[in-house]
């Protein structure tokens, strides 16, 4: 059976791949959405932090023998701590200024991080093996699904669900959201707003690093892996609506599917289809699909 000239088997395979990639985009954009949505900081270092997650995981394996499962928890904490340091030492000084400066600062930091790793490790990249338990795959009939990719979907969507729940449905999340909307008021009520801001930034960075660890067995771990993805991630967050966690999750998934379909029908455009979508969305629905303010 053929759909639009493509055999249905192939189409299902591509759709599934699209969903897998989409869930990855979702968890990758999540950290950025958290940071912008709650803190109104445009974290251009997101791609570099994702790369750091992958590299620290690789270094942990190489030099300390730390396996994948431990790395999945430990690396985001480590990189998140680094994020907290950045926030404390640098971003705090820019509080109250035009968000442009936050963007430029993080852009500069991203250049530095990538440059340093490029010098240390070159650009050919390092191999990071998938953990034993997740090697191999299962034959679904219309395609062969590697176990690791199935795991990526589970882990990514799990992280998204937990994050969304924490922010939208718990008291902690409510306090956080209140603090970012009326910082002085909430501080007057006794909550330590600067600390919350710092920890939130750290959490966003930790999410980026988590995506990095997830990505390490998928592609070569190389210093440029973040900068290749950063504008895509931004596009996802902007389309989803920059204040919305749910928006970036849904957009990430949809984008994966759209990209997958584009690869089937007109592969050359698959890198640019997201920008087309972004331009369209911004013109028709300025605040993004799920955004709150225009």
């Amino acid at each position: 059976m053929e759909i639009f000239g493509v055999p249905s088997q192939a189409l299902f395979g591509q759709l599934l791949l699209g969903l897998i990639n989409g869930s990855f985009y979702a968890v990758l954009s999540l950290g950025l959405a958290v940071i912008f949505g709650l803190l109104h900081i445009i974290n251009f270092m997101h791609g570099a932090q994702y790369m750091l997650g992958a590299f620290v995981a690789w270094m942990a394996l190489q030099f300390l023998g730390i396996n994948y499962w431990v790395a999945l928890l430990a690396v985001p904490l480590a990189v998140g701590a680094f994020g907290i340091a950045i926030e404390r030492l640098m971003l705090k000084r820019l509080a109250g200024l035009d968000p442009l400066y936050g963007l430029l600062l993080t852009f500069g930091l991203a250049l530095m991080a990538e440059g340093i790793f490029r010098n240390l490790y070159g650009v050919s990249g390092q191999s990071y093996p998938a953990p034993e338990a997740l090697q191999g795959g299962v034959n679904l009939g219309f395609m062969f699904l590697p176990l690791y990719r199935a795991w990526v979907v589970v882990a990514a969507l799990g992280a998204c669900a937990i994050t969304w729940f924490l922010i939208e449905r718990t008291q902690l999340g409510a306090r956080l959201r209140a603090a970012t909307e009326h910082a002085q008021l909430v501080q007057a009520l006794g909550l330590n707003v600067p600390l919350m801001v710092t920890l939130t930034y750290g959490a966003g960075v930790a999410l980026a690093a988590f995506a990095g660890v997830l990505a390490a067995p998928l592609t070569q771990v190389n210093p440029l892996m973040g900068s290749n993805l950063i504008i895509v991630v931004f596009a996802v967050v902007v389309i989803g609506g920059m204040g919305s966690i749910l928006g970036s999750i849904v957009t990430g998934l949809s984008l994966g599917v759209i990209e997958g379909l584009t690869k089937v029908f007109y592969a050359e455009a698959s890198a640019v289809v997201i920008f087309l979508v972004m331009a369209l969305v911004l013109l028709l629905r300025p605040a993004g699909l799920f955004g709150k303010t225009a």
Binding site: P7, Q9, A10, G13, Q14, L17, G18, I20, N21, G115, R118, N119, G122, V123, S124, G125, Q126, S127, A130, G137, N139, M143, F144, P146, Y148, R149, L218, T219, Q220, N222, L224, M225, N228, L229, G260, K263, V264, A267, E268, S270, A271, V272
Partner: protein, 405 residues
């Protein structure tokens, strides 16, 4: 007595001519300046980059120590960041301001093409080691340029032909969607069809790509026996890795059309084993290559790629030509270079054709499995020597205006 007078006259005449020519043929400011313009920090820095600078330095040091020339030899290097305008800018500055005589390495086709045009305009020499496109010796050829180490035709030809002859005749191409990828695909497809094979499909991916799963899926569904990877660098590595992940290999085999030993080193033998590739040099081929490569390793801590080895060979040949003609004028040196054969650890009886192509033997290798590899960098099993005349595009098919047909 008459003979002796004739002899005297003759010897005087000869001495006079030599003296006169020596006075005309001079190395400008008594110094030869070699510029190494390469990618120091980007995607090609491992296969060329700082290693190419090391190779050039080795060539200069060896030359000076052995030949003790009357002129000085200086080295300048810069990072072109794979950008044609940065490269063109730097090359122009080197030529106009710093009196650089020869521009070398020039990995990345757009860089090579830009500099090639510049040296023609300014009458200098370009020795291209890293760039791949056959355009350099076809539409864009000129008398001031030599394409030394390899090109897309040579690598595609070697690998594609060997694989088809092995019995894998149905091909699917995974191509990087830009000029280099297209050219590699075209060259390989021609070899496949002219050897009785068939190209059943192509997938073009954006450059650079990172996720090839959907193209690999297409390739899987096509029923091809071989997937030709018409891309390079990180794209090839990721494609190979993901092919293993999705169970594409080992049922279908992969042919990396442009692979270097630095790529195999990054991939690891476990993932890369069994792949065919064609290169112009391998450090472990014979005693000569081993001796040179060990010296290189001491300085660079990595075994040389063919680009780095070719760089040494090109610079050495150039310097010898300068010494032989006593001049660094582009025309004279180039004529000398084209007149002499190249016999070193890199090439045996290599020579430069009128289209600027340096013709030498290429080698077909198969990547060893981890169990067969006995020591560090023991990656390749030599399968076949592709003789120089059959390795490169024949002059009869050339689009170069300098080639008389």
């Amino acid at each position: 007595m008459k003979t002796s007078r004739i002899a005297l006259a003759a010897s005087l005449a000869i001495t006079g001519t030599i003296a006169a020519t020596a006075a005309q043929a001079q190395v400008s400011d008594n110094a030869v300046r070699i510029g190494v313009l390469t990618d120091m920090s980007g995607v090609y820095s491992d296969l060329a980059g700082p290693g190419a600078v090391v190779a050039t330095k080795m060539a200069i040091d060896d030359f000076v120590a052995r030949e003790k020339p009357a002129f000085k030899v200086e080295l300048v290097s810069a990072d072109h960041q794979n950008k044609a305008d940065v490269a063109s800018n730097k090359a122009r500055e080197w030529i106009e301001k710093d009196k650089v005589d020869v521009l070398t390495e020039l990995v990345t086709t757009s860089v090579a093409l830009a500099v090639q045009k510049l040296v023609k305009e300014k009458d200098r020499i370009a020795l291209i080691s890293g760039a791949a496109s056959t355009r350099i010796t076809n539409e864009d050829c000129n008398e001031n340029t030599v394409h030394w180490t390899y090109d897309t035709y040579a690598v595609a030809n070697g690998t594609a032909r060997a694989v088809v002859k092995q019995g894998s005749s149905k091909w699917f191409f995974l191509t990087a969607d830009y000029a280099f990828g297209h050219s590699l695909e075209k060259d390989a497809a021609q070899v496949v069809t002219s050897n009785g094979g068939q190209v059943i499909g192509t997938a073009r991916h954006p450059f650079p790509g990172s996720d090839f799963s959907s193209y690999l899926l297409k390739a899987q569904a096509s029923g091809a026996q071989v997937i030709g990877l018409a891309n390079a660098g990180g794209d090839t590595l990721n494609a190979i890795k993901q092919a293993a992940e999705f169970g594409v290999t080992p049922r279908q085999s992969l042919a990396g059309l442009l692979l270097f030993i630095s790529d195999i080193h990054a991939l690891g033998l476990k993932t890369a084993q069994g792949m065919y590739l064609t290169e112009g040099f391998y450090w472990d081929l014979n005693d000569q290559t081993r001796a040179w490569s060990k010296r290189f390793f001491e300085q660079h801590k990595r075994m040389p790629t063919m680009v780095q080895a070719g760089q040494y060979s090109a610079v050495m040949h150039y310097l010898q030509a300068v010494k032989a003609t006593g001049s660094d004028a582009a025309g004279k040196v180039m004529a000398q270079m084209k007149k002499t054969k190249i016999n070193d650890f890199f090439a045996t009886d290599g020579y430069i054709r009128e289209d600027g192509r340096m013709v030498h033997d290429m080698y077909l290798f198969k990547v060893k499995s981890p169990s067969d590899s006995r020591y560090a960098w023991d990656y390749y099993k030599p399968m076949q020597v592709i003789r120089a005349d059959g390795a490169f595009q024949p002059l009869s098919a050339s689009a170069c205006p300098l080639v008389k047909k």
